[in-house]
């Protein structure tokens, strides 16, 4: 039975959306600590302030990340959460799980933790929420030995990469997102577990420009599927859409009567590049003008598909606002091929692929580890040195595709070697021609 009165929280038990309060209370029957979670949270609801202390450096031996330490500032009142450390477990790519795997983790967590979790954390980890310092090594041991899963990242290192569904259950994926996510995670285990970076570094993998894993907004390095050739058109299916046989946008708007499907209004007019038109009852696309925004494909999935020359676009530098303001990632490499490897990595998986991608990642890290300031995200480093310099470092030719528009200020930094005669000038000579 409840250890604390929680009149405020209790009001969150009602309502149609799943109630975390109800859920915690239920778990409290197994894990005493849950009463104290509720107790302290209730106190925060009264005080309108957090009751967790600042930071707390804890971890497992040999790793610099994976655990986020947390201590209560009112431990006497709530001894069950005096320590309340988070364990970040590296999720399976795209978060597919065998139930026995999840059950094993839950078993450990009910024995050694609070029994509460986040499925999942914003970065993508399977987050176990709340345990004591003395439990950490035990948990790590059981995770690695019994469940064969490792910790995720935290601190100034590679954060746990994550990916969208991709080819597993989506028709649009331009490369194997899971394979890429897995290969990169395995290849850079050291960077993930042992902080050697100026600050955190996140990598996310989306199979197409719809970007279902929010890579462009939330990862320092975003790998987003893309294609080079023409959109595949099934003209018969186009007609089926036009005469209403197929639901527009895969039925995603079926809850409201938007009237009969109008290809002109819903597809052609909304194409940002106006590169589509009807020729009789044939849909035409001027693919050279297409920016592959996905809209037409999204609206007519049975008629249109990405081209067959598939790969990925790499964008770098996304981050939240701290400190210089948020950044959406900047397009750096327009197109690379994404070929999975097939080296058996011993743990049952395959690595050794995605050469071009690894090449980009390592160029980026080599420079950033040298030049990045402490707590400076790579996006901030890019802003500090400027895009032209960053492109040189990345050994990428400057392209008009790198910018929305060319510079409007005239302040070009010329280098001495670019200017005939260089910067050295002789005053005497000058004055001979132009006396003061």
């Amino acid at each position: 039975m409840p250890k604390h009165d929680t009149p405020l929280l209790d009001q969150l038990e009602s309502g149609p959306w799943p109630s975390f309060v109800k859920d915690i209370k239920r778990q409290a029957e197994k894990n005493e600590a849950c009463w104290d979670i509720l107790g302290q949270l209730e106190l925060s609801y009264e005080d309108k302030i957090t009751h967790w202390k600042h930071g707390g450096i804890v971890g497992v031996f040999g790793y610099g990340g994976g655990i986020v330490g947390r201590y209560s500032d009112v431990p006497k009142k709530f001894p069950g959460v005096a320590h309340f450390h988070t364990v970040r477990v590296n999720q399976v790519s795209s978060k597919f799980y065998r139930t026995d795997f999840l059950r094993q983790i839950c078993d450990i967590w009910e024995r050694r933790g609070s029994g509460m979790t986040n499925m999942h954390g914003s970065t993508g980890d399977l987050v176990l929420l709340g345990t004591f310092t003395e439990q950490l090594e035990e948990i790590f041991y059981e995770l690695t030995h019994d469940v064969n899963v490792d910790l995720g990242g935290s601190g100034g290192n590679l954060r746990t990469p994550s990916c969208c569904l991709g080819k597993a259950r989506c028709e649009w994926s331009c490369y194997d997102t899971q394979a890429a996510c897995y290969d990169i995670t395995m290849t850079y285990q050291d960077e993930l577990h042992r902080p050697a970076f100026p600050y955190k570094f996140k990598i996310k993998f989306s199979g197409c420009p719809n970007d279902c894993v929010a890579a462009i907004a939330r990862s320092d390095l975003a790998v987003i599927g893309n294609w080079k050739d023409d959109i595949r058109i099934d003209q018969a299916a186009v007609k089926s859409y036009m005469n209403g046989e197929f639901p527009a946008n895969g039925g995603s708007h079926s809850g409201r009567d938007w009237g009969p499907f109008d290809i002109q209004k819903e597809v052609i007019a909304l194409c940002p590049t106006n590169c589509m038109w009807m020729e009789g009852d044939e849909l035409k696309i001027d693919d050279g003008e297409c920016t592959r925004c996905m809209h037409c494909i999204n609206v007519m999935p049975r008629a249109l598909r990405p081209g067959v020359e598939q790969g990925a676009t790499i964008l770098i530098g996304a981050k939240a606002p701290i400190l210089d303001g948020a950044q959406i990632a900047t397009m750096i490499v327009p197109f690379i091929s994404m070929t999975p490897g097939d080296e058996d990595d011993g743990t049952g998986g395959k690595t050794g692929g995605f050469e071009e991608l690894k090449d980009v990642i390592e160029k980026c890290w080599d420079w950033w580890m040298e030049e990045g300031k402490n707590r400076e995200r790579i996006g901030e480093s890019m802003q500090r040195i400027g895009l032209p310099t960053f492109l040189q470092i990345m050994e990428v030719d400057p392209l008009p595709q790198h910018v929305k528009e060319p510079r409007s200020n005239p302040y070009v930094f010329w280098k001495a070697e670019e200017v005939p005669g260089g910067f050295e000038r002789d005053l005497a000579e000058f004055r001979k021609r132009n006396p003061m």
Binding site: K22, D47, D150, G250, S252, M294, G325
Partner: protein, 375 residues
């Protein structure tokens, strides 16, 4: 034969990463991997994917509070074992997905979900799906608001939009409990952001011992923090810092670097609402969310003002926007002055950028619409 504290390094296993994903693919996924042809949303929360081999995958998506117990996970597993050969997945927005390989298996699966009081089916298509959010008062040290509470309150109110697909387009709502924005609210259709409004307190009793003064000073993007002598409660003069309060923009970076500089305050903290961000590259490029309501108070347990504000924006959008138009695309088409007018949100100078790159947001044309704002 588990972990041995005496010999911590004894057959220690490290750097094994996550398991190979294929072992976690349901058969229908493994068999049709890369073969998918198209999809269809049969009803809110139920997706059908068809592969070139004729294979079909039916997905039932259920809403999830994200802050969940192992007990609930066991329940998910029970359903997955019963209907889905023992597989399930979580989405990038923290919903749960159960997958079956034939149409007839869908209804029984739905029945069991509906029978459970924590498994609402929905979150697909042109509706409101789960709210990406963060820790708040449940686990973090820097929050300006709670996460799970406001999310529960908002989702209760918007529940019908989770279980239906009646909006002009998908609406992505996110919450972050401080400016660190772990919820990555910076590109959401509607963003709920915890904000501090008071400069850091300086704890002269502890600062010398727990903080590196130079790091604290360096932490401030606006150079508001200077090294200074301070007097602790024992009346002794100590090495500390001083804060130029009028320069502070409440970013909280100083507290992140120095535990003796807390910003949190019951009256100062609350919620800002940002709108019009998007992530997808569909039609328009990704956009940042824009700050339209600078502050709403923290009112646990149900954050009434915040819930009302979000619902109002959502419903004005639902009425006014065109099919496929995301919130930001709508606001840009009608013009931001019309957004404020239609949503009946008072415009304040807090919405005018005065940080870096601010000039690019100033209006440098005679093109504007006359709205009620212009007296």
């Amino acid at each position: 034969m588990g972990f041995n504290p005496e010999k911590p390094m004894e057959n220690r296993i490290t750097d094994i990463g996550p398991p190979w994903f294929e072992e976690h693919f349901p058969p229908v996924i493994k068999e049709n991997y890369g073969k998918w042809l198209y999809h269809e949303i049969l009803q809110p929360g139920v997706l059908k994917h068809v592969s070139e081999s004729g294979g079909e995958c039916y997905t039932v998506r259920v809403g999830c509070a994200r802050l969940i117990s192992t007990s609930l996970i066991y329940d998910y597993c029970d359903i997955a074992d019963k209907h889905c050969d023992g597989y399930l997945r979580f989405t990038t927005r923290n919903n749960v997905e159960f997958m079956v390989d034939s149409a007839d298996k869908v209804q029984p699966l739905l029945d069991d979900c509906n029978a459970h009081d924590m498994m609402p089916v929905g979150g697909t298509g042109a509706g409101v799906t789960n709210i990406v959010h963060t820790q708040g008062w449940v686990h973090c040290h820097t929050p300006a608001t709670d996460a799970s509470g406001p999310v529960k309150a908002v989702m209760d109110e918007l529940f019908d939009y989770f279980t239906s697909m009646t909006l002009p387009a998908q609406v992505r709502i996110a919450l972050a409990c401080c400016l660190n924005m772990c919820g990555a609210v910076h590109c959401s259709d509607i963003a709920i952001l915890g904000v501090h409004r008071k400069p850091p307190l300086i704890d002269h009793d502890t600062i010398t011992s727990v903080c590196e003064i130079p790091l604290a000073v360096a932490a401030c993007p606006l150079g508001a923090i200077k090294p200074a002598k301070g007097t602790n409660s024992a009346g002794e003069e100590v090495k500390s810092v001083s804060v130029k309060e009028e320069r502070c923009m409440f970013c909280g970076n100083c507290y992140t670097m120095c535990p003796s500089m807390p910003l949190a305050d019951p009256e100062g903290d609350g919620i800002a609402i940002l709108v019009g961000g998007k992530i997808s590259n569909a039609r328009s490029a990704p956009k940042f969310s824009k700050l339209v309501i600078p502050f709403l108070p923290n009112t646990p347990p149900r954050w009434t003002e915040t819930v009302a504000a979000v619902k109002n924006i959502l419903e004005v959008y639902a009425k006014d926007a065109k099919k496929y138009e995301r919130v930001g695309e709508w606001a840009e088409r009608i013009g931001w002055e019309k957004f404020f007018e239609k949503c009946n949100i008072p415009f304040t100078d807090k919405s005018i950028d005065d940080y870096r790159l601010a000039y690019d947001t100033w209006r440098t044309t005679t093109q504007f619409k006359f709205t009620s704002h212009i007296k």
